[in-house]
Symmetry: C2
Subunit: 377 residues, 2 copies
Amino acid sequence: MTGDALAVYLRAQATEFLRALRLHRETGGAAAGGAQETVDAARALRRSARRISGSLHTFRPLLDADWSEDIRPELAWLSGTLGLEHAYAARLERLLLALHRLSGAAVFPEQSVVAAGTAAQRGGSVAALAGGARAAAAAGARGPGRAQASLAEAPQDTTGPARPAPAPDRGNLTVGAAKAGALLERQLTLARTRAHSTALQALGSSRFHAVADKVALLASEVPLTPAAASTGLRPLAAAAEERLTDSVAALPLLTAGHPYNAQALVHGLSPDPAPHPQDGPWHQVRLLLRLHRYAREVLSGGGTPAEPGLPAAGLALNRHRDASEAAGAAAQAARTPRITPATAYALGVLHADQRHEVEAARFAFQQAWQKQAVGAS
Amino acid sequence: MTGDALAVYLRAQATEFLRALRLHRETGGAAAGGAQETVDAARALRRSARRISGSLHTFRPLLDADWSEDIRPELAWLSGTLGLEHAYAARLERLLLALHRLSGAAVFPEQSVVAAGTAAQRGGSVAALAGGARAAAAAGARGPGRAQASLAEAPQDTTGPARPAPAPDRGNLTVGAAKAGALLERQLTLARTRAHSTALQALGSSRFHAVADKVALLASEVPLTPAAASTGLRPLAAAAEERLTDSVAALPLLTAGHPYNAQALVHGLSPDPAPHPQDGPWHQVRLLLRLHRYAREVLSGGGTPAEPGLPAAGLALNRHRDASEAAGAAAQAARTPRITPATAYALGVLHADQRHEVEAARFAFQQAWQKQAVGAS
C-alpha cells in the first residue's frame, strides 16, 4: 500500500468537500442560519477538511512539502471557524439540559432527549428549554399568553413522531437555576451569533476562495512526491498509532479507571480562569485518536475499520471535551458582575456537575480503551 | 441459644456503659470540651447505649415489655444528644477539607489528613483549616503576625510525630472558597457549641440520672420474660436480617452499581430545603444494618462475626449519611442572606461535590453488599 492509495483517499475527500460546499450554497449558505440541510452541509465541509488536513499531517513525507505546508493551516482555520457556531449551540443545550436535570424536572418524554438524532430536534429542544427557563424566571408570570409565546418558539417541524408540547414541568426550575439558564442563554447565544457572523465572513472571504480552489485542484491531482509511488503507508500510519498509544500511556488511566476518583473537581474552585490544565492531555489524545482513525481509513480504502472500543473511546473523549468546555462556560458566567447569589449558587452546582461529567468521560474512555487493547492483542 | 445469651450480652454492654460514664466524669465530663479521653468516653457511652437499645428492639419478645418500652426511647435520646456535637465537628471538617481539595490546595502532608486517627488530631486539622480559610479570607493580610495567630489556634499537643506547621498553602483558597469556609465555620461552630451545651445539660439532668440508674440495674439483672430461658434468639436475629435484606432489595442498587449514574445530583437544585427524599431509604438501611450487626454480636457472644463486605457496607452507609448532611449544610449556608455571589458559587460547587460523594458512597455500598451476598451464599 503506497502513495496511490493516499491519492485515492485524498481525491475522495476533496470531492466530498466540493459536494458539501455546493450543497451549502444551494441551501442558502451561512445566511440561512439553522436550516437542517445547511447545518448538515457545514458539518460535511468540516468533516472532509479535517480528514484532508489529518492525512496531510500523517503522510507528510509522501506529499509536496510546500503545498502541504500551505494548505494545512488553511483547512484547520476553516474547520475551526465553521465549527464554533455549532459548538456554542451544543454547549448551551448541554448546560440547559443539565440545569433541568439538576432541578429534578422531567423536561421531555425520555426518548425525545435521548434519541433526538437530528440537529433540528436538538435546536428545538434548546429553544423549548430556553423558553422554559425564561418562563420560570418570570416567577409566577405563567399565564396562558406567556405559555403560548414560549410554545411558539419551539419549531414544530421536528421529524420524529408528533409529541405533546413539553409544557408540564416548565415552572419547576428554581429561581436560581432559571436565572442561571437565562444568563447562559444570553451569553452563549451572543457568542453563537458572533460565531455565525464570523463564519459568514469567512465563507465570503478571498482566503476561503483560495482554500476552495486548492481543494478543487486536489480533487483531480494530488501533489505527491516522486518517491510516493514506492513509499509504504503502513509505517507512517503505525507512527501515528504510536503517537496515540504513547499519549494514552501518559494519561492517569489508573486513576480514571477507579470510579469516583474525584480528580476532575480538584481545582474546581481554583481562581485561575484558564482552561483546566489537567484536561489538556485528554484533549490531545482526542486529536491523536482522530488522526489514527483517519490513517486507518486511508489504509482501508475509505471504509471504517472494525476496532472494538475505538468508536466508544472517541465518543468518550468528545464528551470529555464538551463537558470540560461547558464547565468552563458555567464558571465564566459566574464571574458576570451583579448576578444574585442564587444564580451564582446554581452556576456553582452546574460547574461541578459538568466537572463530574468530565470525570465520568475519563472513566468511560479508560473502559473503552481497555476493550480496544484487548481486541487488538 | 436462648435468653441467657442475650442477658450476658446486655449485662456486658451495661457494664461498658457504666465504665464509660465513670471515665467521662473522671476526665472532666462534658465541661472539658475537647480532651481526648472525654471524647473517647462519650463515644463509648453512645456505643453501648446504641447496642442496648438495638438489642432490646430485636429481641423484644424476650424482655419485660414495660421496662423495655420505658428505657429504649431514653437510650435513643441519650445517644442522639451526645452524638450531635461530634456530628457538627465532623461535618465542618469534611466541608473544609472538601473546600481545600476543590481549590487544589495541598493542605497538609498527605498522611496527617488520611491517617489522622485520633480526634485530637482531627480537631487540630479543623482548627488549622479554619485558620487557613480565615487567613485567606483576609485577602492579602497575611503578615507574620496573622500567621502567628492562626498557628496558635492549632493545638500543639497532637499525639503523632512532630510535623512542620501546615503553612505553605494557606493563601491558596479563592476568595469565594475562603468566605464559604468562614461562613460554614461560623454556622457549624455555633451549632456545635449549642449541641455541647445541650449535652452538658442532658448529662446533668434528672432524666439522665434515671437512665443511668436503669442501666446500673441492667448490669446486674436483665428483666427477661419467664419464657425467655427457653426462647431461641436465632429466629429473632433472622427476622432482623430479613428486614435488612428487604430494605436493601428496595434500594436502586442496579443504578447505584453503574458508576457515574448522576442520580444523587438530581434535585440538586430543587427549591425544597428538606433533606433529600432519595436518601431516606439509604439512611434506613444504615440503621437496619446496625441492628443486624448487633444481633450477630449477641449470637456470637459479643465478638464480631466475620462477614465479608459487611463492615465495608456499613462504612459506605456512614459516608453516605455524612456526605448527605454535609451537602445539606452547604445548601443551607447558601441561603444565608447577604452573601456574595462568589461565596454562593463556592457553596454550590461544594454542595454538588458532596452530592457526588453521596453517589460514590452508594456505589461503594453496592459493591460491598455484592461481596457480602457472595460470601454468605
